[in-house]
Amino acid sequence: MKFNSDEIASVIQREIEQFESQIDVREVGTVLEVGDGIARVYGLSNVMSGEMVEFPSGVTGLAFNLEEKSVGIIILGDYLTISEGDEVRALGKLLSVPVGDEVIGRVLDPLGNPLDGKGPVQAKTQRPVEIIATGVAERQPVHEPLQTGIKAIDAMTPIGRGQRELIIGDRKTGKTAVALDAIINQKHTGVKCFYVAVGQKDSSVALVIDALEKHGAMDYTTIIVAGASAPAPLQYVAPYAGTAMAEHFMFNGQHALIVYDDLSKQAVAYRQLSLLMRRPPGREAFPGDVFYCHSRLLERSAKLSKELGGGSLTSLPIIETLEGEVSAYIPTNVISITDGQIYLQPDLFFAGIRPAMNVGISVSRVGGAAQIKAMKKVAGGLRLDLAAFRELEAFAQLGTELDAATQSRLDRGYRMVELLKQAQYQPMSVADQIISIYAGTRGHLDDVPISKVRDFESELLRFVRNRNPDLLKKIVDVGDLTSEIEEAIKSAITSFKATFRP
C-alpha cells in the first residue's frame, strides 16, 4: 500500500482555502478545582444542565451541578490533563453518540470512540445520549417473544420484545452467561444486540468478546465498555450511551436487545459523582435520585406502536447482590422498575443446577403474552409445579414415609430439574424446547433414570431432527400445540423410547 502524498496535500490545501474566518463567540468559565473525575468551574453563567463543555486539552465534560456561584462538571475522559485556571467553554449541545449500522460489530467506549483498533466509527447519524422515554401513546403492549434459548427462562419466565427483565444474583452465579446465551440465540432473528460493560474487569470483557466472536454473535452485536479503570463519569454515562445506540434501531422499526452488565456498578459510579459534587447522601450513601437514574434508563426500553414502525428495545439489566440480599437499596429499586426478574442462586449453582435460576421467586410480569401458544400449553403449570416440588423436597428430607402419589410427584420434579439444566453457549430453538419440555411434563421421562435424563433429551432431539425434521418446522410455523402436532410429538417420543437404552 502506498499513499499518494500530493493528492493528500491538495485535499488539505483545499480545506485551508475554504476556511472562513468568523469571530468565535464562546461562553467561558475558569477551572477552580479538578480531581476525581469532576471539576468545579467559575463562570459559565448561562450554561444549562447536561450541556457539553470542552476543556483546552480537548476533553469534554457535562454540566452536572448548577450552583449559585459555580458549576460542577463531570469530566468524560482524562482529567489529569486539566489544571486550575484552564478556560472551559460551553459547546451549547448535548452529548451524543454515533448510531447506525456502522456501530454493529464494534467495541466502543461510551463516547463512541473505538476500542477495538478498527479505526473511527464512520457513522452518518448521531443520537443524544439522554432523551425522555417514549410516552404512553407511542407504545403497544408487549406481545412478541424474545427467545433467550434457555429452556428454564423461555418456559417459565418468558421475555417479550420490549420487556425489561432483571437478572439478579450473587457474584459467580452465571448472570452474564444467561445474558450472553440470550445474545447468541439472536442469530438469524435480526435482533441487534448491545452489551454494555460497566465497571467490569477488562479481562472479563475480553472473555465476553471472545465468546461472542466464537459463536458468530459479533456480526450483530455492539459492545460498549467503561471498564473498572474508566473514570466514574464514563461508567455513569455508558448505559445511556448504549441505549441511544440501541434506540436507533427501535425507532427504525427494528428490534434490539441491550444488556447492562451491571447496573449496581453504575449506581456506585453515580454515588461517587454525587458525593464528590456534595449532593446529600441518602440510604447506603446513594443520592436521592438514584432511583430516577435507573428508571429513566430502563423506561427507554419499549415496544413501539404500529404507527411508529413497531420496533422494540428489550433490556436485560444485571444487578449483583451481596450474600443474596435482595432487599438492599439498588436491588429493590431495579426490581420495582423492571417487568420481572430472573433470580440466580449460588447454592443451586454449586449443586450443578445451571442456569441456577430460583423458580419460586423468578417472575415475568408480561407472562404468557411473550410465549408462542405451543410453549404456553406445554409449560403452563411448570413454574408452580416446580415451586411445589421444592417445598415437597424440603419436607421429604425429614425422612418421613411418603405415599405413592407424593413419591411420584417428587420423582417427576427431580426429572424436570434435571431436564431444565442446560450447558453454556448452547441455546436451543423453541421447537426443541417444546419437545423436551413436553416429554418431561407429560411424564415420558418418569421411567428414565435421573442420571440419564440429559442423555435422553439430547438423543431424543437428535432423533427428531434426523427422522422427523418436518415436525420441528411445523411447530414453529403453526406456533400452536394442535392435537395433530401433539400426536406427532407423542409418537416421536414413543418410537425413540423403543430405541433408547439407558
Binding site: 500500500m1 502506498k2 499513499f3 499518494n4 493528492e7 493528500i8 485535499v11 488539505i12 483545499r14 480545506e15 485551508i16 475554504q18 476556511f19 474566518s21 469571530i23 468565535d24 463567540v25 464562546r26 461562553e27 467561558v28 468559565g29 475558569t30 477552580l32 468545579r40 467559575y42 463562570g43 459559565l44 453563567s45 448561562n46 456561584k69 459555580s70 485556571g85 467553554r89 464512520q122
Partner: protein
Amino acid sequence: MSQVAENSHIPTVFDDEHQHVGEIYAKALIGAAKASGNADVVVQHLTSIVTDILNRSPVFESALSSPKLSSSEKMALMDKVFRGKVDPTLLNFLKVLCSRQRIGFIRGIQQAVVKMQDEAMGRLRVVVTTAVPLEEKQKTVLADTLRSRFGKDIALTSRTDPSLIGGMVIRIGDTVYDSSIHGRLLLQRKQVEERAEQQLRTKLDSLVS
C-alpha cells in the same frame, strides 16, 4: 496572611465566604454612599485602596488585621493615612471593618461594590485583550461601537497579550468574542483537520495506489 496575598494575585479563586460577606458589606457601603450622594467616588477610592495600597504593601494590611494592635490604635493609623484623601463615608466604613475584624474581606467587598455599582448605573464591564497596546482613539471607537451594540455604558479595561499575534479578544461577563489571529489559527487547525480527515476517508481508494 500569605493566603490573602495569593488571593490578590489570582482573582478567579473562589471563596464562598468572602463573596457572601463581601456582598453584605457592599450593600451597606453603597447605601451609605448613595445617602451622601457620591457613590462613584467611593467605589473609585475603594478600588484604589485595594489595588494601590493594600496589594503593594502587605505590611500595612497585616497591621490593620493584626490582633496585636488595639482598635483605637488602628483608628488612629487610618486617620493618619487616609484622612482628607478619601471620602469620609469610606473612611468611616473602613473603621467599621477594622473594629469588626473584617478587614480581611476587603477584596470581596471591593469586587461586590464594583459589580453592584455597575448594575445600578447600567454599565457593562468589558475587558479587551490585544497583542499591542490600544491607542486612546481606538479605545473610544471601540467603546462607542460596543455602546451602540449593547445599549449600555461601557467600562473598558484593556490588557495586552503578545501571544494573540493580532486582532482582539473581547470579554463581557462570561462571553468571549474572539477575533484574534491566535484563536483563528486554532479554530482553523481544528476545522481543517476534521474536514481533511473526512475528505481523505471518503477518497481513501484514490489516494492509495
